[in-house]
C-alpha cells in the first residue's frame, strides 16, 4: 500500500541520505576538478573518518557531532600523506598509474581497518539523539538526520567561502582552469594540490563521521559510497559543486523512493538508470560544462 505520508517520509529520508553522499561527492569532485585526479579510494577515507569519529566519541566521551572536526583533521592529514607520498610520485605520468594507486589504496585501507577494528565490526557512533524523531503528522524525521543535513549545509557554505573568498581558494580555482598558467603566475601548485587533497579528504572524513552516526559501518563500507559519489558527480556535472549538491539530492531521493515504491533490489538500479537518462539528455551532467 502506497500512501502520501509514506512517500513523503521516504523522500525526506532520501534527502537526508543524499546530503551525506553530497559531502563525499563534493570532496571527490574538488580533487578531480583541481588535480584531474580520479581517486577510487575516496570511500575508504569516509570509512576511516567514521572509525576515527567513533574512537574519539567513545574514548573521550564527547558528543558525536564534536568528533566530526577531529575526524576531518585526521583524514585531512592522511590525505596530505597520500598526495605527497603516493599520487605526487606519478603525477604527469600515465593516468592509469593514478588509477591503479587509488585501486591499491582501497585494499590497503580496507585491510588496515580490518586489522585495527576487527573487534568493532558493524558499529555505530553512539548519538544521544538516536531514536528521537520530529513528527510532522504521520511523517517522522530523526533528529540525527536533520542535524546531518544542517552539518552538510554548514560545511558546504564553508567550502564555498574557502574557494571564493580566500587566496588559496583563488589559487585552487586558477589551478583547476590551467595548472601551467597558474604556475607561471607564481602559484605553487604542489601546495595547491596538497591543500586540495587535504580539503577533499576532510570532506570525506566529515561524511564518514555523519555516516557513522546515521548508519552502522565496518571496514568494507567504502566501496558503495564511492560508486554512489561517482554517480552523483557525473549526474551533477564533473567539477561542479552545485552539480554535486543537485546530484546528491536527486540520487538520494531516487534511491529511497524506489525502495519504497518497488522491491529493494531495484533501489540501486533505478538510481543508476536516472544517471543514464540524464547523461543521454545532457551528456555533461546537470551543471557540467563542455570540456570537463
Amino acid at each position: 500500500m502506497i500512501t502520501t505520508a509514506g512517500l513523503t517520509e521516504a523522500l525526506l529520508w532520501g534527502i537526508a541520505n543524499g546530503c551525506i553522499y553530497i559531502l563525499l561527492a563534493t570532496g571527490l569532485n574538488l580533487i578531480f576538478g583541481v588535480m584531474k585526479l580520479v581517486n577510487f579510494a575516496h570511500g575508504q577515507l569516509l570509512m576511516v573518518g567514521a572509525f576515527i569519529a567513533y574512537e574519539i566519541t567513545t574514548i573521550a566521551g564527547i558528543n558525536p557531532y564534536l568528533s566530526i572536526f577531529p575526524a576531518m583533521g585526521a583524514v585531512a592529514l592522511i590525505g596530505i600523506a597520500l598526495e605527497r607520498f603516493a599520487f605526487r610520485r606519478v603525477r604527469g605520468t600515465e593516468k592509469l598509474n593514478e588509477i591503479f594507486i587509488s585501486l591499491g589504496l582501497i585494499y590497503v585501507f580496507q585491510n588496515l581497518a580490518t586489522l585495527f577494528w576487527n573487534e568493532n565490526y558493524n558499529i555505530q557512533i553512539p548519538s544521544p539523539l538516536r531514536g528521537l524523531s520530529y513528527s510532522l503528522g504521520e511523517v517522522l524525521l530523526g533528529y540525527d538526520r536533520m542535524l546531518a543535513i544542517a552539518v552538510v549545509i554548514v560545511v558546504l557554505v564553508g567550502l564555498v567561502l574557502l574557494t571564493k573568498k580566500t587566496k588559496i581558494g583563488l589559487a585552487m580555482r586558477a589551478t583547476s582552469q590551467r595548472s601551467d598558467t597558474a604556475m607561471l603566475m607564481g602559484i605553487n601548485i604542489n601546495r595547491v594540490y596538497m591543500f586540495t587533497f587535504a580539503v577533499g579528504a576532510a570532506l570525506a572524513g566529515a561524511a564518514g563521521a555523519l555516516y557513522g552516526i546515521v548508519f552502522s559501518f565496518n571496514p568494507a563500507i567504502g566501496a558503495l559510497p564511492t560508486i554512489k559519489a561517482f554517480a552523483i558527480i557525473i549526474l551533477g556535472g564533473l567539477g561542479s559543486i552545485p552539480g554535486a549538491v543537485a546530484g546528491g539530492l536527486l540520487y538520494g531521493i531516487a534511491e529511497n523512493a524506489t525502495g519504497y515504491l518497488t522491491n529493494g533490489i531495484w533501489q540501486d538500479a533505478v538510481a543508476f538508470a536516472l544517471l543514464i537518462i540524464v547523461l543521454i539528455i545532457k551528456p555533461t551532467g546537470l551543471f557540467g560544462e563542455k570540456g570537463e
Binding site: M1, I2, T3, G6, E9, A10, W13, G14, N17, T114, N118, Y121, N122, I123, Q124, R130, G131, S133, L140, G142, V214, F215, S216, F217, N218, P219, A220, I221, L224, N256, A257, T258, G259, Y260, N263, G264, I265, Q267, D268
Partner: protein, 460 residues
C-alpha cells in the same frame, strides 16, 4: 624336561615373538602418512566467518592434543592441519576461486564451512566437480544438497549426481527454522495478542516478512508462506518486502512494512542487517512491533549491536551460547562455550562456529570408521554417520544424515529465545520461550513470552 615339552615351549616362544613383531611392524606408520588437511571455508571479513575459523581451530587443536586422528591404513595417528579457505565476504562471487585453490593447490582432504547460501552455491561447484567431501555448516537453503532435484533448465541444477553425493548439510535448513517461527507465532504470539488486546480468536496474526533479496531471503519468504498454508496456521502475511543485499539502510522498506500494519516482522537477514533493521524500525521509523531474527544472528555481535533496543525482541536459535541458567541445557554446549572463551580471550561463540566444530568431529569419526583418507570412502562414512548429538539438539538425539528426499541433511530442533535487557549487566540476555520441551532435555523452557514494552499491534 622332556624333548617334546622343550619343542612346545620353543614353538610357543617363536609364535609369541613373531606375533609381537608382526604387531609392532603394523604400528610403523606408512611412508604415505602426512597431515590431514581440513579446508575451512569462511569469509574472514564477516563475524560469522571469524567464528567458523575459531571453532574449527578449537576442534582441531583438541584433536591434535590427543595425537590426531587414527588412520588405519597408515597405522598411525595423524595430525590435522587447518587450511583456511578465505572467501572474504562469502558473497556469491568470492567463493569459487579460493575453494578451487584449496582443492588443487593445497590438496585439502575435506571442506567444512560455507556461511551464506549465495557463496556456498558457487563455492561448492569445484568440490562437486573434484569429488571433495564438503560438510556445509552455514548456508541454510536446503538446495545446497538438493540441486540435482531441480527441474531441467533451472540454472542452479547440477546434473552430476555422483558429485552431489559428496555434499553434506550439517546445519538447520530454512524449513527447519521457518517451521519453528511460524508455529511460535501461531501458538504463543497470537494467544498473547488475543488476550492482551481482546482480539477475536478468528483474527489472524498479521505477519510482515522483510527479507534480503537473494536465494536465502526469498527461500525464507516462500517456505514460511508454504508452512502457514500447509499447517493452516492462523497467520496472514500482510507484506513481503525485500531489500538489496548491498543495502546499508532500510528506512524506505520499513515504511512499507509499517503501512501494512503488522503484528510481527520476520526478518530474513544476516547479523548486521537484521540488527540495523530492528534499530531503524523502532528508533527511526516508529514501527514498534515484534521483530523476529533468524538463528544466524545468534552471535554476540547481534546482542551488542541491538543493545537496549533489542529488549523483548525475538531470536530463533538452535544453540544457546549465552544460556541463562545454573546448569547448561546440554553439558557439551557448556564445555564448548567455556573452552572457546578460554582459548579466544573471552569471546562468546556464535552459531555457525558450533556447526563447524561438530562437523570437524563428524569428519574425524568418518576417517576413523573408514580407516582411510580416500575421499569416496570418506563420503560413504559420513553418509553412515551415527554419533550422539553434540552441540545441536537432534530430533532423535543422534547425528545422522538422511539419504532420501531430504538429501544428506540432519534432523535438528530449533527454538525461540526472547532477548531481555539486563540493566545490571548492561547487556541483552536470551531466555528460551518456545517450545515448552525438547527431546531429552529437562528443563529447557525458561519463561513465558512477553510483548515488548512499547509494542503496538497491527490493525484489528
Amino acid at each position: 624336561m622332556n624333548k617334546r615339552m622343550l619343542i612346545a615351549i620353543v614353538v610357543v616362544v617363536i609364535v609369541a615373538v613373531a606375533s609381537i613383531a608382526a604387531w609392532q611392524f603394523s604400528q610403523i606408520p606408512s611412508a604415505e602418512a602426512r597431515s590431514i588437511r581440513v579446508g575451512i571455508v569462511a569469509g574472514m571479513n564477516t563475524v560469522e566467518g571469524q567464528d567458523i575459523e575459531r571453532a574449527a581451530k578449537l576442534a582441531i587443536d583438541e584433536i591434535n592434543a590427543q595425537g590426531g586422528i587414527w588412520v588405519d591404513e597408515w597405522h598411525t595417528k595423524v595430525q590435522v592441519e587447518l587450511v583456511l579457505v578465505d572467501t572474504v565476504d562469502d558473497a556469491a562471487g568470492s567463493t569459487a576461486a579460493p575453494v578451487t585453490r584449496a582443492i588443487t593447490d593445497q590438496q585439502v582432504d575435506i571442506l567444512i564451512g560455507g556461511a551464506t547460501t549465495g557463496g556456498t552455491l558457487n563455492g561448492q561447484i569445484p568440490a562437486i566437480t573434484n569429488r571433495v567431501p564438503f560438510i556445509i555448516t552455514g548456508a541454510s537453503l536446503n538446495l545446497v544438497t538438493r540441486r540435482g532435484s531441480l527441474p531441467e533448465g533451472n540454472p542452479l541444477r547440477i546434473n552430476d549426481t555422483v558429485g552431489m553425493s559428496y555434499m553434506f548439510h550439517y546445519c538447520t535448513t530454512i524449513s527447519d527454522y521457518s517451521y519453528t517461527v511460524a508455529h511460535f507465532l501461531a501458538d504463543s504470539v497470537k494467544a498473547k495478542l488475543d488476550s492482551a488486546y481482546s482480539f477475536d480468536s478468528s483474527r489472524k496474526l498479521r505477519l510482515a516478512i522483510l527479507y534480503r533479496d537473494d536465494g536465502y531471503g526469498r527461500g525464507v519468504r516462500d517456505v514460511t508462506s508454504t508452512i502457514i498454508k500447509q499447517d493452516s496456521l492462523p497467520i496472514e502475511v500482510v507484506a513481503n518486502v525485500s531489500y538489496a543485499p548491498t543495502a546499508t539502510t532500510y528506512q524506505s522498506q520499513l515504511i512499507s512494512v509499517k503501512e501494512s500494519n503488522p503484528d510481527a516482522v520476520y526478518i530474513a537477514g544476516f547479523t548486521a542487517d537484521t540488527a540495523e533493521i530492528v534499530k531503524e524500525g523502532i528508533n527511526d521509523v516508529g514501527l514498534k512491533s515484534l521483530y523476529i531474527a533468524v538463528e544466524i544472528c545468534e552471535d554476540p555481535q547481534f546482542y551488542t549491536l541491538l543493545a537496549q533496543t533489542g529488549d523483548k525482541q525475538i531470536l530463533e536459535s538452535k544453540i544457546a551460547t549465552q544460556w541463562q541458567g545454573d546448569t547448561w541445557y546440554l553439558p557439551k554446549v557448556g564445555t564448548y562455550v567455556e573452552d572457546y572463551k578460554n582459548k579466544f580471550d573471552g569471546k562468546i561463540p556464535g552459531m555457525l562456529g558450533a556447526d563447524t566444530y561438530d562437523a570437524v568431529y563428524i569428519y574425524k569419526n568418518a576417517v576413523e570408521q573408514s580407516g582411510t583418507l580416500n575421499k569416496t570412502n570418506i563420503r560413504d562414512a559420513i553418509e553412515a554417520t551415527d554419533m550422539p548429538q553434540s552441540l545441536l539438539i537432534m530430533e532423535n538425539q543422534k547425528i545422522t544424515f538422511s539419504t532420501g528426499t531430504n538429501y544428506h541433511e540432519i534432523m535438528p530442533k530449533t527454538f525461540i529465545e526472547q532477548l531481555v535487557w539486563n540493566s545490571e549487566a548492561n547487556a541483552l540476555k536470551p531466555f528460551v520461550v518456545y517450545p515448552a520441551s525438547m527431546p531429552g532435555i529437562v528443563p529447557f523452557y525458561q519463561r513465558d513470552f512477553a510483548l515488548p514494552t512499547d509494542y503496538e499491534p497491527g490493525s484489528p
